[in-house]
């Protein structure tokens, strides 16, 4: 059996204080672009990637990703092609790959077929933004049986009781949303994010990936020692759209430096 997501992450964390998690929307701007982005991620030292399967109702996404979802679909992106992209990504990137999306994609193809295909392309797990643990128990259980992790999300406004409940069912990592709201909005990194991460740490031993609003080396530097991973989404997509693969690789590289230098040179 292959390494689980948690095992891969722990191995990586042994040699690096803060991992970098990247994001892309499959089929946006195009699958060719996705490949260029993946190359840039490898060059930029990204540790793991979530590949978002576009959905017509991306309620957890802010305007940038929501529009990316829509455009990808308008350009004909099919679910099968998203799996194909994951398979190719596997050959480009050394780190773990996560499918990210909405649960209707899974339910529509059937949970069994979904997990099968996901395993077949070598994914380490998945994040379904609209599938709470209590409604996904079956899916999450079956995934685990196949060695894949159903990643769950925690937000600062979750009660302690609920945090415990989610942590109990979480596998692989805990995705910590830095604030309320959807992706792509501004986040103030400060005491409250630190408190939130400490709370999550108190309820779960899993690596914590902090996302929503991570844009700059200083943000990453701030997270060092407080979380195990930084998730960079919207800012990376904007960078690619402005400057292409080269700019994107640079962008990740600067974030890596941020981890090491504390962001002082950004």
């Amino acid at each position: 059996m292959v390494e689980t997501l948690e095992q891969s992450l722990r191995r990586a964390l042994a040699s690096k204080p803060l991992l970098l998690m990247a994001h892309l929307v499959a089929g946006y701007p195009s699958f060719d672009d996705n490949l260029h982005m993946l190359e840039a991620m490898r060059e930029g030292g990204v540790d793991l990637v979530e590949v978002q399967f576009p959905f017509s109702e991306p309620v957890a996404d802010g305007p940038v990703f929501a529009r990316a979802n829509q455009t990808a679909l308008e350009r004909g992106t099919r679910v099968s092609a998203c799996f194909d992209l994951m398979a190719r990504a596997r050959n480009i990137l050394p780190g773990p790959l996560l499918m990210m999306g909405y649960c209707n994609t899974v339910f529509h193809m059937g949970e069994g077929r979904f997990l099968e295909k996901l395993a077949a392309v070598g994914a380490a797990g998945f994040i379904l933004a609209d599938l709470p643990p209590e409604l996904g128990a079956d899916l999450y259980g079956r995934a685990q049986a196949l060695g894949m992790s159903g990643v769950l999300i925690l937000t600062p406004n979750t009660t302690l009781e609920r945090k415990r409940e989610v942590a109990r069912q979480a596998r692989g990592l805990i995705y910590c949303a830095a604030r309320k709201g959807v992706t792509g909005l501004k986040t103030d990194f400060g005491g409250s994010v630190e408190d939130f991460l400490r709370d999550v740490g108190a309820v779960s031993p899993l690596p914590r990936a902090l996302g929503f609003g991570v844009r700059a080396p200083a943000d990453v530097a701030f997270l060092r020692g407080k979380a195990e991973m930084a998730v960079v989404g919207t800012a990376a997509l904007e960078t690619y759209e402005r400057g292409g693969a080269r700019a994107l690789a640079d962008f990740y590289r600067r974030l890596q430096e941020g981890v090491l230098t504390g962001g002082r040179e950004a």
Partner: protein
């Protein structure tokens, strides 16, 4: 039949709350507040009094004598939700949720709107209750329903056109959820129909049940008997659930009428159940949706903006599966004809949404024996549809008028 005894938000395989984790706490808070209110008899009494004094509840039941004679067959009657303040049944739900929002100490409300009726109702409630208000409306619907936008703004609401997705109702709902995910502390999301994550389907059904309760009592009193059938149009399903709840335990056939658009074979409709083209999916809740092979929600079409919605109430999905509610569809053309007939013969102007229920009832009226009763949910009035109706009828002098007004 008590659909809501479990308080689980599940109706057979349908329902649930498929929401981003960030919404979990506010949905939990809302659910608790809702059940507390539901368990408090004073709350329902307060609601009924509010609707009697601010709107004109109980709304009457009007016999459609002329049309009944014209068609031959059943005795048709209309439950007059069009007479509500703001012109539709949407106000019932909105005022109820408004009372709940006040109980929860919220200072702001948000709402999606398709036809604009729910938006106007919410803006009205917000004005009356002193709440800030933002209405999300698909850009396409902003075009179709400009008068409603005008009044929402005048009522003090901010109207935000939604440019994502198909730019219709479902996208406005998505945008509300996005707003709510960061505004929940002071904001209540007034969902407008019996869809969305639990507890919305149950909650909206609860407030709309006032329609069916009244209707049953009124029919027994005024007509001396129950109807054989009840027809209601089904967008999300709130007017249907409202009126159907009065008759769930009676030997009454309940008929939900979906938007047949350009025809069920045309691919341009919004019939999730009657067309057989809907399939089970999840978008906030589990129910029937019109989706493509990958589970992407598809574009729908209807002459009635309020029926132009890709999903349908999980409760109605359950009642359809179990055979308790029969589903059918009415096409745009029949709907316009039914609207014309209703205006000419009865002096009533149903909303285009409601006209779907009329169209199906007219089509099937002759199946019944004379003297048998058919109750139609007249969920709203059609004044708001002047632009759409005038366009559908190709009214030349109206166009000329617009030209002059626009120029002047």
């Amino acid at each position: 039949m008590n659909l809501f005894s479990s308080r689980s938000g599940r109706y057979g395989p349908y329902g649930g709350a498929y929401i981003p984790e960030v919404l979990h706490s506010c949905i939990a808070e809302l659910t608790a507040a809702f059940y507390a209110a539901k368990d408090d008899p004073a709350f329902w009494a307060e609601y009924v009094t509010l609707m009697a004094r601010y709107s004109c509840r109980p709304t009457p039941i009007t016999p459609l004598d002329n049309i009944s004679r014209h068609l031959g067959g059943a005795r048709l009657l209309a439950k007059r939700e069009d007479l509500n303040h703001t012109g539709s049944h949407k106000l019932n739900n909105v005022m109820g949720q408004g009372l709940l929002a006040l109980r929860m100490g919220k200072k702001r409300v948000i709402a999606e709107t398709g036809a604009g009726q729910h938006g106007v109702a919410t803006a009205t409630m917000a004005a009356r209750f002193g709440l800030r208000c933002k209405i999300y409306m698909g850009e396409e619907d902003v075009q179709r329903q400009r008068p409603n936008v005008f009044w929402m703004e005048r009522l003090g609401a901010e109207v935000e056109p939604v440019r994502l997705g198909s730019r219709t109702l479902k996208d406005a709902i998505n945008e509300c959820l996005r707003d709510w995910s960061h505004s929940m502390d002071d904001t209540h999301y007034v969902l407008g129909t019996v869809c969305g994550p639990h507890p919305f389907p149950e909650m909206v059904s609860y407030f709309q049940s006032i329609v069916g309760q009244e209707a049953r009592t009124q029919l027994l009193e005024l007509e001396g008997g129950l109807p054989q059938r009840v027809y209601a149009c089904v967008g999300g399903g709130s007017n249907a659930m409202g009126i159907f709840q009065g008759f769930l335990d009676d030997p009454v056939e309940l008929v939900g009428v979906e938007a047949g658009g350009k025809g069920l074979k045309s691919g341009r409709h919004a019939s999730r159940i009657a067309s057989g083209e809907g399939s089970v999916g999840v978008a906030g809740y589990r129910s029937y949706f019109l989706q493509d092979a990958d589970g992407q929600m598809v574009d729908t079409h209807s002459v009635a903006a309020g029926l132009d919605y890709v999903g349908v109430s999980p409760i109605l999905a359950y009642l359809a599966d179990s055979g308790r509610v029969r589903f059918t569809a009415a096409e745009d053309g029949e709907v316009i004809e039914a609207l014309k007939l209703t205006m000419r013969l009865e002096g009533l102007i149903p909303a285009l949404e409601s006209a779907h229920a009329f169209a199906a009832a007219y089509r099937e009226a002759r199946q019944l024996k004379s003297g048998e009763r058919v109750l139609i949910s007249m969920s709203g009035r059609g004044d708001k549809d002047i632009f759409t109706v005038a366009e559908a009828l190709g009214d030349a002098s109206w166009l000329e008028y617009l030209k002059r007004k626009a120029g002047g």
